[in-house]
């Protein structure tokens, strides 16, 4: 633990110079690091090859491990569940009663919906899924929220495609390798999802906060019409996500909008589904016109 002796250069010019040179190299390293950072901000996709190589080489390990340990993220939840068992039980019973009624209503609505669709002769234009796979790893130590998916361009995955779980939206494809893809999660701070309120289709934007929640801002700034419990689903504007995928539920209001908890927790979902881009043509046009608005390439 003690620093080695004879580290003071004394009067030897040679020793002094070598210390100076080592510091210079260290500072050079820091400066090159800053330059690399600058490059990654100007061109976020510039280093994606490196990251893809990293993800591809470690993918066999990740894939095996993800098969073994299914649920890694909910150990804490399971422990805390013991402490609130009784009150939770009561609350769940009430909730169950309420959901039963809502399910019946929803079933009726679904039937009506199908009948109307048949009348309009609306057919599904896009297939439901391109591929289904597990999330094999994530950037758990970084403040970015990016996960790796065990499918890649070999299975037809392309940049920008939305990724969802049964519970709701997970994110979108950011970078693609041959057998892995990197998914920008909804909760990432750089991910903006166009959403709408489920009951009155009030449009809003959901921006990730990096901790499993999103910040919901209404498009009509100045009003704050949100309430706790509001459900937000994708609106389909921007053409990236098909409309109607559940995204988040409001947990509290803030000054200008609301904070909402993301419904699909990537730590708990088993398999995720990669969907085709809702309106690929629209996305391409938007990308050409205003690259900054719905930046489908946007990463860093």
């Amino acid at each position: 633990m003690a620093p080695p002796r004879n580290r003071r250069p004394g009067f030897s010019k040679r020793a002094q110079y070598s210390i100076f040179a080592s510091y210079l190299l260290g500072i050079l390293g820091a400066v090159v690091g800053l330059l690399l950072l600058l490059v990654s901000f100007i061109d976020p996709q510039g280093f994606s090859v490196l990251r893809t190589i990293g993800a591809e080489t470690t993918a066999p390990v990740s894939k095996t491990l993800s098969e073994v340990g299914g649920a890694t993220g909910n150990a804490g939840d399971q422990i805390s569940a013991y402490f609130y068992a009784a009150s939770k039980n009561a609350a769940m019973k009430r909730e169950l009663e309420q959901s039963r009624i809502e399910i019946l209503e929803a079933r009726a609505l679904k039937q009506e919906n199908e009948r109307l669709k048949r009348l309009l002769k609306l057919d599904q234009e896009v297939p439901d899924a391109i591929g289904m796979a597990r999330l094999i790893s994530s950037t758990a130590s970084s403040s970015r929220r990016i996960a790796t998916l065990g499918l890649g361009s070999a299975s037809g995955i392309e940049i920008g495609q939305p990724v969802r779980a049964p519970e709701g939206l997970i994110g979108r494809v950011l970078e693609v390798g041959p057998t892995t893809a990197r998914i920008l999660l909804v909760s990432d701070g750089k991910n903006v999802t166009p959403v709408q309120r489920a009951n009155d289709s009030l449009p809003a934007f959901a921006t990730g906060l990096g901790d499993g929640t999103v910040d919901i801002q209404p498009i009509n700034i100045g009003t704050n019409p949100f309430q706790g419990g509001d459900l937000f689903i994708t609106s389909g504007s921007g053409g990236l996500y098909s409309p109607g995928i559940p995204v988040a539920v409001v947990i509290r209001k803030n000054e200008s909008g609301a904070i909402a908890r993301i419904l699909a927790n990537p730590a708990k979902v088993g398999h995720v589904v990669v969907q085709p881009i809702f309106q690929a043509e629209t996305v391409r046009q938007i990308g050409e016109d205003i690259p900054s608005e719905f930046d489908i390439e946007g990463g860093e």
């Binding site: 633990m1 003690a2 620093p3 580290r7 080592s22 510091y23 190299l25 260290g26 500072i27 050079l28 390293g29 820091a30 690091g33 800053l34 330059l35 690399l36 950072l37 600058l38 490059v39 990654s40 901000f41 976020p44 280093f47 490196l50 990251r51 190589i53 990293g54 470690t58 390990v61 990740s62 491990l65 340990g69 890694t72 993220g73 597990r134 999330l135 094999i136 790893s137 994530s138 950037t139 758990a140 130590s141 970084s142 403040s143 970015r144 929220r145 990016i146 996960a147 999660l185 909760s187 701070g189 750089k190 906060l209 990096g210 901790d211 499993g212 993301i262 990537p266 730590a267 860093e300």
Partner: protein, 171 residues
């Protein structure tokens, strides 16, 4: 060829083991994100950094000042941070630690832990601010669990690295 045989007869550990083990353990620590640990917020301690700090504090002078750059660069590939972030932050840590080493009169275990803790806080907060300075400046509190976990994990990592170190130089 002859040389390696003779050194084996002399029962000295191979140069590869002496030189490469520290870097290899740091890279292995950086690759912890490979494990299927999927979380919704940053919680996993930056193991690459912890291993790096352990080596740097156990064996001052083993690594040149510039070693933070290549090791940080490898960490960036796996961490999901923008490339260059750890390369920069780890370089800064090495420069600061080098000057501390030259000034310090005595060092003990608690000082090492304190230095490691400050370095961990610096890298985690720095990494978050690099990602997005303006919005993240107000939300640094989501790092608190990760910082606490990392600081508490450091003594354990230092023990493990100490054991690896004594195996590294053993005959």
């Amino acid at each position: 060829m002859v040389r390696t045989r003779r050194s084996r007869l002399d029962r000295k550990p191979s140069q590869w083991r002496i030189k490469m083990i520290p870097a290899a353990t740091v890279v292995a620590g950086s690759m912890i994100t490979t494990f299927s640990i999927i979380t919704d917020y940053p919680i996993l301690p930056p193991l690459g950094l912890l291993v790096l700090l352990a080596w740097r504090l156990i064996r001052p002078g083993f690594w040149p000042v510039w070693a933070g750059f290549p090791l940080g660069f490898v960490d960036d590939i796996f961490s999901g941070q923008p490339i260059g972030s750890a390369a920069f932050l780890w370089s800064v840590i090495f420069i600061v630690l080098e000057s501390i080493d030259r000034k310090a009169i005595r060092r003990d275990y608690w000082q090492d832990w304190l230095i490691a803790s400050i370095a961990i806080i610096f890298v985690l907060i720095g990494g978050m601010l690099i990602v997005d300075f303006q919005t993240n400046l107000l939300r640094l509190d989501i790092l608190i669990p990760q910082i606490l976990l990392s600081i508490l994990l450091y003594p354990f990592i230092a023990r493990v690295i100490g054991a690896i170190d004594s195996w590294r130089v053993a005959t």
